[in-house]
Symmetry: C2
Subunit: 412 residues, 2 copies
């Protein structure tokens, strides 16, 4: 078993979130305090930057006296930069990518490899770890999960999901107050992110409390979508009040499997269909059917970067899971992802565990059947019990002259 050294490298990958920097901050706080680690490197733009040796020497940016760690904790995006880079299979290294990668790891004396991301990123860490094992290299590879989509298997939920869910629930409660001001019949269709898993769309249900009337109808990608059913649902709500507020996932599909908002022609490099406009399509259908006032709203990127209203539960878990990953690597674990195990809903409590990375990469966790009501137009109490604690508590960024203060690395 060859060991390159005991330096550490950490990277971020995939779509940005409001909590991915909290995980980076948590891992960094732990890494920086370990004096046996001489260098803590940050990959600029994930593995893509690592392959070009674009590395931050992170101790230069943080020390115990500065407020860097706490500002980073509430900065949205992915402070180190991100990438969408798919490694080839470890037995198909025709372009010598693994050779280049491991030459760089050797040059920088890396013994610890951390990667924060979603299921595509866990695929990366699975492969790096597999290659190391096959070649008898002592490299501790630990994945730190993040995705607003909450679609990773094994972990109870993903860091980043709670912040997005809180933003969505809050904005639905607020949009409800906005739609309620006029008395004529009207429909507002709000499109929520989540291509194949309806977790974020389901979170709109949390806008319905004893203090607000929130969302009326929720359509997830897990069940087939039907316009006739939608029209019946709208007429049912109109019996109670004139303004109908609807949440649709960007990924709702018709009975025939066709995405409502798909143009069908564009796929990204992981083979995912690029969707847009489900709410716009639904808006037109409702206008044609009822001739009433209809507005569509696409919540868009603020869903994943609105760190001005973050879930305390999510930010604290995201921070702590970063520290846990570092601890687990130091204890000799590799080829694993740190995940969250829920102890109880109410009062909410959780702890961290390790999961085999191969059981996570490239899999998608959908909203289960018993979370969706029998009418397929709302979620169940069971879903609400699961979702609710994840948005508990508020964290606010530090403001300067009315604007949140963010942590920004210089470009390298």
């Amino acid at each position: 078993m060859v060991k390159f050294g005991s330096n550490a490298v950490i990277g971020q990958s995939g779509g940005p979130t409001a909590a991915i920097n909290a995980s980076l901050a948590g891992a960094l706080q732990s890494l920086i305090s370990h004096q046996e680690i001489t260098k803590v490197y940050g990959m600029s733009n994930g593995i893509e930057g690592l392959l070009k040796e674009k590395l931050y020497d992170l101790r230069n940016y943080f020390d115990e006296r500065s407020d860097g760690i706490s500002v980073l904790k509430t900065t949205p995006g992915a402070a180190l930069g991100s990438c969408r880079y798919k490694l080839p299979d470890t037995d198909c290294d025709d372009n010598n990518i693994y050779k280049s990668l491991f030459d760089i790891l050797k040059k920088y004396q890396i013994g610890y490899f951390f990667y924060i991301g979603g299921n595509d990123s866990m695929d990366t860490i699975a492969k790096v770890s597999e290659y190391a094992t096959k070649n008898n290299i002592d490299l501790k590879c630990v994945g730190i999960p993040k995705t607003i989509d909450n679609d990773l298997v094994m972990t109870d939920h993903t860091p980043g999901f709670g912040c997005a869910a809180k933003y969505i629930a809050t904005v639905f409660a607020e949009m409800r107050r906005d739609t309620a001001v006029y008395s004529q019949k009207a429909v507002t269709v709000v499109e929520v992110m989540g291509r194949d898993a309806g977790w974020l769309t389901a979170a709109s249900s949390l806008s319905k409390t004893e203090y607000t009337d929130g969302v009326d109808l929720i359509y997830l990608p897990e069940t087939p979508f039907s316009y006739d059913k939608l029209f019946t649902d709208i007429e049912r709500i109109w019996k109670n009040h004139s303004d109908v507020l609807i949440a649709v996932s960007e990924g709702i599909r018709l009975e025939n499997g066709k995405y409502v908002g798909a143009d069908g022609s564009i796929k990204d490099k992981f083979g995912h269909l690029k969707l847009s406009g489900a709410a716009k399509v639904v808006e037109e259908k409702i206008k044609n059917r009822f001739g009433c006032k209809v507005r569509s709203v696409e919540l868009n990127t603020p869903q994943r970067c609105a760190s001005h209203i973050s879930s305390l539960t999510d930010i604290e878990e995201s921070f702590d899971i970063g520290g846990f990953a570092v601890k687990m690597a130091f204890e000799g674990n590799t080829g694993v992802m740190s995940g969250i195990v829920r102890n109880s809903d109410c009062p909410y409590s959780s702890h961290f565990e390790l999961f085999d990375i191969k059981s996570i990469a490239n899999k998608v966790k959908s909203v289960p059947d018993n979370f969706i009501d029998t009418e397929n137009s709302f979620v169940t109490e069971k879903a609400v019990s699961y979702l609710k604690p994840l948005i508990f508590g508020e964290v606010y960024p530090i403001y300067d002259s009315g604007i949140p203060k963010h942590f920004i690395f210089p470009k390298i």
Copy 2:
């Protein structure tokens, strides 16, 4: 001079904002404390509800012991309900609308009439006040301004603008962190509300601070928009960094006067063109020109209802101007709007004054030339000095189980 009585009625009208209920709360706190006012009525859905005698007896909902006033202060929307109702000219009362209205005012012994709204609502109060004067009726009519658009003349700025501006500036700073995560050339086009006045779009400039790089290019409806100029501007920004963040007003117009996002066929009852999709149109043009990754984002209704991040300056002024309007009515003023006069930018201070309602109704205040840079693609330091203090300070709603608590009147 006939006096119907000394009861008061208050209504809200026009588009909802995050601060219109703060003005209602401020006026109510003052009205409720005046024991000589036996009844304080709230119009359900503005003057439209008043004409149907849909009135709340507001003392029943608020007393000094409850937290109603403070919850109302941070509730978005228009708690009493709103309308878009245009009164006829006072000398054209063919349908006896003024007769009906004043019969109702007499029945409820109204001596004080308050209306919170934008320039269309000031038109309403101008007419009600004019009719009262012509018919020798002692009715004190005072307008309380609100509009996120900041397009009312005379007042330095409008209550509601600061909250919307703070949300926009904050979200631009956050979207900047989101767009900065990838290294390839990309453009994000964000559409901001404001049909004919670019105040809200200009507020995106506040996202550019020493702590964030914010918005790159700003296009207002006050100057002609040109695609060739846009392409040159994008290429200039690309020399500095790969992700270009652009703010466009929904009302940007080409040299020939045509709205970029207009379908041209729909007008509302005040004769305003209904716009949508300027950012979408610009997105397509940039894609076709450069073939790079382009995303368009329409900030949409959260701009006017995201009270989860409110400007302290705006909420306090909105609350206080409500109280000022009541005081002025009691001092015998009528046919006036309470407005804000700025004493200084830095440190910011302001006071309230009354303005003749006829000098305000149906007029629009545009962003002045010296607020727009010579390239027509950003705003000047003078604009920033004007805008900045309006977003100072943060107010957060009261949260319960992770969701903001809102004040909701039962429907009548």
